[in-house]
């Protein structure tokens, strides 16, 4: 509870600044409209006019909340949670691609880390390129990934999205796991040598468990990156469903409220995913006796 007070204070502060911003940014349009209509506006009229526009430059928080509620809770209450007009449905699509991308990326990251840990050639050849790979703007690759997967007979947009999201999230896992797998001290490794332990035994009994805290730390980064990847994959590729598609369509049809609602849905999704992994981390590390 004590910890919540400063957080809530800062949140309130942010909301206040936001309202102020909404008023400032939406005023010109309200004034211009009044002028076109040849009307005068009082200050209070102007303020209300900035809080309820259809196409605000910056929607007021309550507008976003309202839109978010309309497209989620309200629809869910009417049993239409999975309707395509519902953000829950679109969040589900994004979540699906995120999770498959995450699974792919984490697998690649871990396998890569194992290869790097056990083979010097792989380490020397691959490690620099892993860094370079993160400087390539994947957005640019998105259309090609779609066409290429089309050309290789993979249908649907889920796969390319998942590839992009895997591309973004393998890196933190790779780096974290390389660190984690190398975290055992040389005396811990030597101990196993005195037992004449095999590579497999030293992997499963020492390196892997020792890397768990590192793994979970990077998983939290990775799941966030995977979500970014999915949304980035949805943005320019003309995805037809998913939160990124909602942002895109909102942009094309000039409905900023839809963009903001999708953004917040994405934020909530990100928060939920990170929290979830944090929870799993707590449980697993505790059960491993490392959860202090």
């Amino acid at each position: 509870m004590r910890r919540a007070v400063p957080i809530v204070t800062v949140l309130l502060l942010i909301a206040a600044v936001w309202y102020l911003g909404a008023w400032r940014m939406n005023a010109p349009w309200a004034l211009a409209q009044a002028e076109r209509a040849g009307q005068e506006m009082t200050a209070s009229e102007l303020f209300t006019a900035t809080m309820n526009q259809d196409r605000p430059r910056l929607p007021a928080p309550h507008q976003v909340a309202e839109e978010l509620w309309k497209t989620t809770g309200e629809m869910a209450l009417r049993g239409r949670a999975l309707n395509k007009r519902s953000l829950i449905y679109h969040a589900g699509i994004t979540l699906g691609a995120t999770l498959s991308g995450f699974a792919l990326g984490v697998t690649l990251g871990i396998l890569g880390a194992v290869a790097i840990t056990y083979s010097r050639v792989v380490e020397m050849s691959l490690m620099p390129w892993a860094i370079v790979s993160q400087t390539i703007p994947i957005v640019a690759l998105a259309p090609m990934i779609i066409v290429l997967s089309n050309a290789t007979g993979i249908e649907g947009r889920g796969v390319p999205k998942a590839i992009i999201s895997a591309y973004l999230c393998y890196f933190p896992v790779l780096v974290g796991m390389v660190k984690g797998l190398n975290s055992p001290s040389s005396s811990q490794l030597d101990l196993l040598k005195t037992y004449n332990a095999s590579n497999t035994a030293s992997f499963f009994k020492l390196r892997l468990p020792a890397s768990m805290p590192y793994l979970f730390t990077s998983l939290k980064i990775a799941i966030a990156a995977a979500l970014v990847g999915t949304i980035v994959g949805e943005l320019p590729t003309g995805a037809v469903s998913g939160l990124g598609a909602r942002i895109l369509i909102g942009d094309q049809f000039g409905t900023p409220l839809a963009i903001w609602a999708a953004l917040f849905a994405a934020a909530i999704l990100a928060g939920a995913l990170v929290t979830l992994i944090g929870g799993v981390q707590g449980v697993v590390l505790k059960r491993m006796g490392m959860g202090r």
Binding site: R3, P6, I7, V8, T9, V10, L11, I14, M25, R57, L58, R120, V121, E123, M124, S125, L126, M127, P128, W129, I131, V132, Q134, T135, I136, P137, I138, V139, A140, L141, P143, M144, V147, L148, A151, K220, I221, A224, L227, V228, I231, V232, L235, P236, L243, G244, I247, L248, G250, D251, P256, I259, W260, A262, L263, A266, A267, A270, G271, V274
Partner: protein, 282 residues
């Protein structure tokens, strides 16, 4: 088919060479440390070339590296102009503003335990969000030119850097802080002589993450409107004109610029945090 086989053979040979190099006596030498990844990269390019040519892949779908290189050579003017627009004006200015603002904010909230307690969890949360989604909004706020790109970059780098700096400022251990107290040092003295230097490894961690975000942010923002130049402009319109080789040339520039940018920051890090165990190998 022979082309494909040849490329595969080259790839295997290169890998074999790398295996030899990595096991050799000189594996710790700088040249080898550089040569091995370069050989690997070359092998990948040769494989790519072989597959594209050997399988007769339409250049509209995937051009061969040599085609890309040729386009690169003939369009240096365009590429340079785009680099200036996106990398220098958009990404770099946004990076500097964003990192600077994050740094100043971190110092400001550091003075108040209350604000730190309030902002850090929120910052951590925001740092994990798909900020890239605000690109269309910021483009409509800040116009089509580089300012909106810089704004997107600022939004993307701000929180990762903020979180790292705040975290870093807490890094000085209790004993080191106690030492300063026994000297009756002022809080500014403690900041400049202890906490800032101790924070540097974290600060650079944030700055390095920010480098990779910056260029990508600037490029994506150009998807939502731009003048008729810029890397993102070229990439986003190139596909429609079927100028795929130019798109790849831009991608190559982006990777190159991003790597150099990262390299520069990593080099500065080496200079500043020379004392940190992670920098002291050997």
């Amino acid at each position: 088919m022979t082309v494909v086989a040849g490329a595969l053979a080259f790839w295997l040979a290169a890998w074999g060479l790398n295996v030899l190099l990595a096991r050799s006596r000189w594996r710790r030498a700088r040249v080898v440390r550089i040569a091995v990844p370069v050989i690997f990269g070359l092998a990948v390019l040769v494989l790519w070339q072989g597959l594209v040519r050997g399988l007769g892949v339409n250049p509209v779908i995937l051009p061969a590296p040599t085609d890309i290189a040729a386009t690169f050579a003939t369009s240096t003017d365009t590429l340079w102009q785009d680099f200036v627009q996106t990398a220098l004006k958009g990404a770099l200015s946004g990076y500097l503003i964003g990192c600077g603002a994050a740094f100043v904010t971190a110092l400001a909230i550091d003075r108040s335990a209350f604000l730190t307690a309030g902002l850090l969890p929120i910052g951590n949360f925001v740092a994990a969000l798909p900020i890239i989604g605000v690109a269309p909004i910021l483009v409509s706020w800040f116009g089509f030119d580089w300012q909106s790109k810089a704004a997107v970059v600022v939004a993307m780098v701000f929180f990762p850097v903020l979180v790292n700096v705040v975290q870093g400022l807490r890094e000085a251990d209790a004993m080191q802080k106690d030492l300063m107290r026994t000297y009756a040092a002022s809080s500014w003295q403690t900041l400049f002589k202890l906490r800032l230097p101790a924070a540097m490894p974290f600060v650079f961690n944030g700055l390095k993450i920010a480098t990779t975000l910056a260029l990508i942010g600037a490029i994506v923002a150009e998807y939502f409107g731009s003048p008729v130049r810029g890397m993102g402009f070229r990439i986003s319109t190139g596909v429609g004109r079927l100028a795929i080789d130019l798109v790849w040339a831009e991608i190559a520039v982006a990777a190159l610029v991003g790597t150099v940018f990262y390299g520069i920051v990593a080099m500065i890090e080496k200079l500043v945090t020379f004392w940190h165990p992670s920098q002291r190998v050997g």
